[in-house]
């Protein structure tokens, strides 16, 4: 639990809106150890999604340093490394509507290579672990919100990432379904030894993680 897989130092991000500068992040430091789960809470608009995007290498910080498994992340190699290093889960699921649940899970590995028998078996196994074996040939439109998010979780874990970034994964779900999804997310991460950064408003959900942080005025405490 001591080896750090993600290390951020002094991450800063400013948005220009008209002629006003909004300093969203002003020096965020974060270390995540392998297999560790961290919750980040913060008011709406405090920059939680912005931070996750920076950690995922989807956006470039103005200042600061980011390392994945001890190696600095540059914009040039972020795209290539991202698929292997991390998985992401979003509030709005973002499943591809034209393909069924199994194909959606498989999509994560498809971006790396043409899927083989082992990949298919793994996708099926993941769907079984999120309890959707029966639903594997259903299109996203035929699934409930909770089921869609479970497919998204399976997809995020498809490439056996070291880190999972979840941005308010229960935001679009009712309380009961949300609780179930969080339980599933935490237990799957524990089983697979995947580190988790969970952005949430829900204090009960946050308290289930190893460590709780709060984003306020651009710094993480």
């Amino acid at each position: 639990m001591s080896e750090s897989i993600l290390s951020a130092r002094g991450l800063a991000k400013t948005y220009l809106s008209g002629d006003r500068r909004i300093e969203v992040l002003r020096g965020v430091d974060l270390d995540v150890a392998a297999g560790e789960s961290v919750a980040i809470r913060g008011e709406s608009g405090s920059g939680k999604s912005t931070l996750l995007n920076l950690l995922a290498g989807l956006d470039a910080a103005e200042a600061g340093r980011l390392e994945w498994t001890g190696m600095p992340v540059t914009t040039a190699d972020a795209t290539r490394r991202r698929a292997i290093f991390l998985g992401m889960v979003f509030q709005a699921f973002y499943l591809i509507p034209e393909i069924d649940a199994l194909a959606n899970v498989l999509m994560a590995s498809r971006i790396l290579r043409a899927p083989g028998a082992a990949d298919r078996a793994r996708a099926r196994d993941l769907l079984a672990r999120v309890g959707l074996t029966e639903r594997s040939t259903h299109l996203p439109a035929q699934l409930s919100g909770g089921e869609r998010q479970r497919v998204a979780v399976a997809r995020a874990l498809m490439n056996t990432p070291k880190l999972l970034l979840a941005d308010e994964p229960t935001g679009n779900l009712d309380e009961h379904t949300g609780d179930a999804v969080i339980e599933l997310l935490l237990s799957l991460c524990r089983e697979t030894g995947t580190a988790l950064v969970l952005v949430t408003h829900n204090i009960a959900h946050a308290e289930k993680t190893n460590r709780q942080l709060f984003l306020h005025e651009g710094v993480l405490r």
């Binding site: 290539r80 992401m88 393909i99 997809r155």
Partner: protein, 409 residues
Amino acid sequence: MPWYLYLAFKQLFPTKRFPFFTAISVLGVALGVMVLIIVTSVMGGFGYEIRRMIVETEGEVTVKTTTTIDDVPAALREIRASPGVAAASPFVKGPVMLMAAGHPAFPLFRGLEVGSVEDVTKLSRYVSPVGALAKLDDDSVILSAQLVQTLGAHLGDEIEIYSPLLIENLKNDEVFLPRRFRVVGQLYIGHQQLDSSTVYGTLRAAQEIYGLGRNVHGINVRLKPDAPEEAAVAVLNARLPAKLRGYLWMESWADFLWVLNLEKSINFFLLLFIVIIAAFSVMSSLLISVVRKTREIGLLGALGASARQVALCFCAQAFVIGVSGTTLGVAAGFGVLAIRNDLVHGIANLLQREETLRQFYQFSDLPAHTLPRDLILIIVAAIAISTLAGLFPAWRAARLKPVEALRNE
């Protein structure tokens, strides 16, 4: 299969859903391709028919010289011995003045060697009554259909023909009488240009009219069917004495064929606009798709897809639409061509205009001939234009930054 091709297919043909957008785009391209195939094939058919008519009335090659050919038997011997040549027949051809029941006309007189002309041409096919050509003698002529019409001549009528030599004779104060001929038949080929006013008589009669003695103006040649035309003519010309030269039918009719080809090219470019408009509809439906799928495009980025791959995904969709539309269009085009005569006659019957059709068009059956070159051009152009239509949507998709795409809610 790379993921972007897989996704391109899935977006075009989603699981368990009828692909409306795709169907409409594919149909647009298919319609354009179909019309292009039909029109270029029918125009090619006209060209092909005209070629057939020219070849069937004059042979593939005409051997000519600047003046007249004097040693005809020697020239014929040399031509007939050339390896690509099947048959040869001498002719005399030139303008004359004709009087029929007080009506003057200035047709072309074509003198044929009755014994050999049928080895080279298939003129007798176009002559009525049947057998009139074989029975042609030095005092009878066959008139082309158009000439018969303008003169109001009938079978058995007497006509008078004045030679251009008349003018020379008048200068010398000689009396020169016209030559009298009996009309024994008419010749109807079925094409305006070829049916224009011509008088067909024997070679000897023509030689007499023109005062040629035993000389002729040229020799019509038919090539062996399996020999490539250009090569056969080249071999023939190498054997012939310097002053004689064989011209392939295409050279002799170059101007006429050029106009025909121009018409075809203009048609091609006008009809290509159907494909271009179809490509605009492909572009707009792909643009809509890029906008609708903004968040999925963002997600693909989050999964590790590069901008180039995302662009390829949309380009591939345009390409697949182009290929499917073109395939369907080619099939539909050939399908319609296969039943074209039933269609034309059906419509004519419906409008009770079958007779009008026969009167006003040069062919009572619609000819069609698809040149491989035209087919390849249509296929390549249609696929290329459709694929180009995908470039703009692809560029828009590639330009989306995953963060911004994902924020779009």
